[in-house]
């Protein structure tokens, strides 16, 4: 196979999520520019493509400000595309057709990053959940509605349900609010759930529990899930495919386990090596430790060449001139880096062997 190695073959990727279920949503070359005033334009999302499949989880990980939420907002119809195409069940999404768009909105639910702003402080939990439940199943009697509300709130393990339904947002802790937000999204009976950092404000034990809840819902309702997180460790456990974003572009994608265990792109490598290791919880910070990784952040979005080059230990002349496209490393993995032979020799070699013989697992 010619796909192996850091060749010039454009990345045609077999998503590991495809084996789980039918195609639900396609994001094709999404671009989003924001005007920053004085004529400067920030391309917050640049040529991002991926597919979501029913019953599968695709994780979008990446640095703060890298464009993850913007991708989700584009998919949810909350931001206008600068260019690109979104398809749901094979049909191109038309934001102008009011009726179709309303249906689209209930099919595609978005859980906001920030639970503090997404709940209205003057309304109870019951109020927040009633609307989507009604919209989803209009002809409910009061008793049925109540039963449904209890079911929805119990799905996110807020018990006793009646007590939580009567609460106002300010009476809930941050974690409890986030679970209400998830419950509200589920109440609409969506086929696609865009979950923007759904667990990052939750503590570890509840985080696990909620991820398990989402996983159960994924199976039971064949949900197609986009899981946005900055926590690559949770993506390893939860996702089928992981896409890593940096400064607006996808810089690496692949099966969750492979990508996290053998990251190929230098940014993914930095992300992985910075994650706390439960077996070796160092005292890096307390004792000075590792040199600062001083991020250039979004100024990178305006750079020539590879947007990661100011921070990249492997950067060379070409990196400063030309921006690398996503290059296939194996049928299911790709990375946007000119120097994969150097940055991830083992990954490239394994892919070469795999290409000649049997595909590696």
């Amino acid at each position: 196979m010619s796909a192996a190695g850091a060749g010039v073959t454009p990345a045609v990727v077999d998503s590991p999520a495809a084996s789980r279920g039918p195609l639900a949503m396609e994001a094709i070359s999404l671009c989003k520019d924001f005007r920053l005033g004085r004529g400067s334009v920030l391309s917050a999302v640049k040529d991002v493509s991926f597919n979501l499949y029913r019953s599968a989880v695709v994780a979008l990980v990446g640095e703060s400000g890298s464009g993850k939420s913007t991708v989700a907002k584009l998919l949810a119809g909350q931001e206008r595309l600068t260019s690109g195409t979104i398809r749901l069940d094979g049909h191109e999404v038309d934001v102008k057709g009011r009726h179709a768009f309303r249906r689209y909105k209930s099919e595609v639910q978005y859980v906001f990053q920030d639970p503090f702003s997404s709940l209205n402080p003057v309304h109870t939990v019951r109020y927040h959940l009633t609307r989507p439940v009604r919209l989803h199943q209009p002809h409910k009697t009061a008793a049925e509605l109540d039963r449904e509300l209890v079911r929805v709130i119990e799905q996110v393990r807020l018990t006793p349900a009646q007590q939580f339904l009567a609460k106002y947002p300010h009476e809930l802790s941050g974690g409890q609010r986030q679970r209400v937000a998830v419950a509200r999204a589920l109440a609409a009976g969506p086929s696609v759930l865009l979950a923007d950092e759904p667990v990052s404000m939750l503590d570890v034990s509840i985080r696990l529990e909620l991820l398990n809840v989402l996983d159960t819902l994924r199976k039971d309702f064949q949900l197609a899930l986009l899981y946005i997180t900055h926590d690559i460790a949770s993506a390893r456990y939860f996702a089928d495919e992981v896409l890593v974003m940096y400064a607006g572009s996808v810089v690496e994608r692949g099966p969750a386990e492979e990508l996290t265990q053998a990251p190929a792109h230098p940014y993914t490598q930095l992300l992985v090596s910075s994650s706390p290791d439960p077996d070796d919880l160092g005292s890096m910070l307390r004792h000075g430790g590792k040199g600062s990784t001083r991020q250039v952040g979004e100024s990178a979005a305006m750079l020539q060449g590879c947007r990661f080059h100011p921070r990249c230990p492997f950067a060379e002349e070409r990196c400063r001139r030309e921006s690398p496209p996503l290059l296939a490393v194996s049928p299911s993995r790709a990375a946007a880096c000119w120097r994969l032979d150097v940055t991830a020799p083992a990954v490239v070699a394994r892919a070469r062997e795999g290409g000649e013989g049997e595909t590696t697992s």
């Binding site: 640095e63 900055h230 460790a233 290791d277 910070l285």
Partner: protein
Amino acid sequence: MTATSDMQTTTAAAPTGDRATSGGGEPVLEIKDFSVVYRTGGGDVHAVEKVDLALHPGEVVGLAGESGSGKSTLAYGACRLLRPPALITGGSVVYRGRRLSGPVEILGRHPEELRELRWREIAIVFQSAMNALNPVLRVRDQLLDVVEAHLDLSKDEAAERIASLLDLVSIPRARLKSYPHELSGGMRQRVMIAMALATDPEVVIMDEPTTALDVVVQRDILAQIVELKDELGFAVLFITHDLSLLLELANRVAVMYAGRLVETGTSDEMHHEAAHPYTKGLLNSFPSLRGPRRDLAGIPGSPPDLRGLPPGCPFLTRCAYGAEACSRVDMRLSPVSSSPDPAHVTACPFVLPATPEKTLASPSEPPAGAR
């Protein structure tokens, strides 16, 4: 004085004590026997119950515990920032700032006097930081407001100050002109961190300030806060549910459960010699990136209803070691008997650091090693 506070003061009274663990000298913020309830129709929610916590100059104290355990209530309550139905039902909070002539009993002060104290002396990054920013003001104007109100600087100095604060949290200076909604969630959190550090405070309380930040940015910012802290000598109370982060960042860690502290010790002790079953559970529940995928234990069950806790240990319903005797435990923190450090304290009289994992005790007999 209660037995609990006696025990806590052993470190405070010994200025020659271990600097790494106590910071030495008198605490800059000393919370004692502090309790807060929320008066609700369904009964009083005992969100904080008889908590002792001391913060020494130049020290980072971590407060860990799951959602709803009362961490924010403790921190905001100690600064008198809670509104009804919250009610402080007891305790004392003493602040000793280097710039002040003497100690201040925060709970006894008039709200007016506290306002200045809060910005200049004690700065707080709120948990809802992401939208605590004023939506109609540019980042620059919000930072300028704070700096101008509390520091005596010229226009140029103030401008330079806020620009360097943005550098500190890795936000490009061009972003000074942005409105909050134009920033990502993580960026808004970083602006709030910058704002808290703007006035050169003595105590910085950070409530889950980095939940929206990836590890790379998080480490970068925390490393800089630690550096700045070493330079300026302020103390940090860092609240998070992420124990792994605290083990790296904090000198001492206090673990909270159901409104009470259940264990306190140095980071090393909490990491390698955790005594309380709840702390052990927290240590077992985060996903690892490296090594084989393992089954995550987590902590089964959910936190108890804080309105009517039965007597004894509130962790009983979820504790693998739970036994009948646990319903008679008085929840006082006592030194871990196997630890050489008297400041390593736990509320569980039965389980020790060395107690084998998840040994289920026979109903009437506490596990071996009971003190």
